[in-house]
């Protein structure tokens, strides 16, 4: 099997562990320290931000305009609307400018 397939299988295992793990752990520990809980709450936003910020810093005016439009749409709409507004902006600007 290729390395890619092994990575996919390992990713599947760790992902399943996150899905069953919370339930398994909580049946042992009834209380979570508030600071730990706040840290866990921050995980998704923190991880996802690291995938946006450097890309934004490395982009140009077209990419910045795209993220600005997507960010504004996100204030009102859901993920689908946000994504399509940003994608449309990017494609139009790259083909027009």
């Amino acid at each position: 099997m290729s390395t890619t397939v092994w990575i996919i299988l390992a990713a599947a295992v760790v992902t399943y562990l996150t899905r069953i793990g919370g339930h398994v752990l909580l049946s042992r520990f009834q209380r979570i320290h508030p600071r730990v809980e706040a840290g866990l709450d921050a995980v998704p936003a923190a991880v996802l931000t690291t995938l946006v910020a450097p890309a934004a810093a490395g982009g140009g005016p077209i990419e910045w305009a795209t993220l600005a439009v997507a960010g504004l749409v996100a204030l009102r709409g859901g993920l689908t609307a946000t994504f399509f507004a940003g994608a449309a902006t990017l494609i139009v600007l790259r083909n027009v400018l």
Partner: protein
């Protein structure tokens, strides 16, 4: 007709399953573009149609699959890719802990199977269903299987046609992921300490990207945001919300 009193009060398994699937339709439609986007980008990043479909079928977690793709393209150590996928999926631990309390009437096998299908939407709608009444295994699986089967099919479709795209730059495929991730970041803005966390992770990851290099900027930036949240959090149980 002789119907037992207990079954008369609740719909049967099939009715529950169909009701769950019906409730899963909106999120299945909304996530369809992302399922196909994953397949398309997977093909662009050199994965075969089979590998792309396998990843959707085995991992079944959109954001982490896209993160994995981003890293596949950068010749990064395999364990680091797996660790990054684990980090993005870590939020499931909280869903699992919360929803597990609603599943005490499920058997051990039902829980082992059911937790495989635990996505953001499954968690949110599962909690709603549990509060409205009984969250049965049939209802949960109706919801989860619809979303799952479409997600796997979308990867195959996207990967098949992703190979045919002539000019990825004009279609913006190289910058689709940051847009998607920004949308997800914005989706978490209702959480406490969101702005300081995002600010800390944005600055730290960007600086780390230039000083340390990829992919460490992901871990370094994420740790900065998480630590800040832990430090800023009110320590007393009664403080804050």
């Amino acid at each position: 007709m002789t119907v037992a009193a207990g079954t008369h009060q609740r719909p049967g398994r099939l009715a529950d399953f169909i009701d769950g699937a019906r409730r899963g339709i909106p999120v299945t439609v909304a996530s369809a573009p992302f399922g196909m986007l994953f397949g398309t980008l997977a093909a662009q990043n050199g994965l075969s149609v089979g590998e792309a479909t396998l990843m959707s079928a085995m991992v079944f977690a959109g954001a982490s699959q896209l993160v994995g793709l981003e890293l596949f393209g950068q010749k990064i150590a395999p364990w680091l890719i797996v660790l990054s996928i684990f980090a993005v999926n870590f939020r499931h631990v909280l869903y699992s802990a919360a929803l597990g309390r609603r599943l005490r009437h499920w058997s051990g096998l039902q829980r082992a199977v059911g937790f495989f299908f635990l996505t953001d939407a499954q968690y949110a709608d599962g909690e709603k269903q549990a509060l409205a009444g009984r969250l049965t295994f049939s209802w949960y699986m109706g919801y989860g299987l619809l979303l799952y089967l479409c997600w796997v099919a979308e990867a195959a479709i996207g990967a098949t046609f992703g190979n045919l795209i002539p000019d990825p730059y004009a279609l913006g495929l190289d910058f689709m992921l940051p847009i998607y991730f920004l949308g997800m970041v914005m989706g978490f803005r209702g959480r406490p300490l969101w702005l300081p966390v995002v600010g800390a992770s944005a600055v730290t990851s960007t600086v780390a990207y230039y000083l340390v290099g990829s992919p460490w900027h992901v871990s370094i930036g994420a740790v900065a945001g998480v630590l800040l949240a832990a430090v800023l959090a009110p320590s007393g149980r009664r403080a804050g919300l």
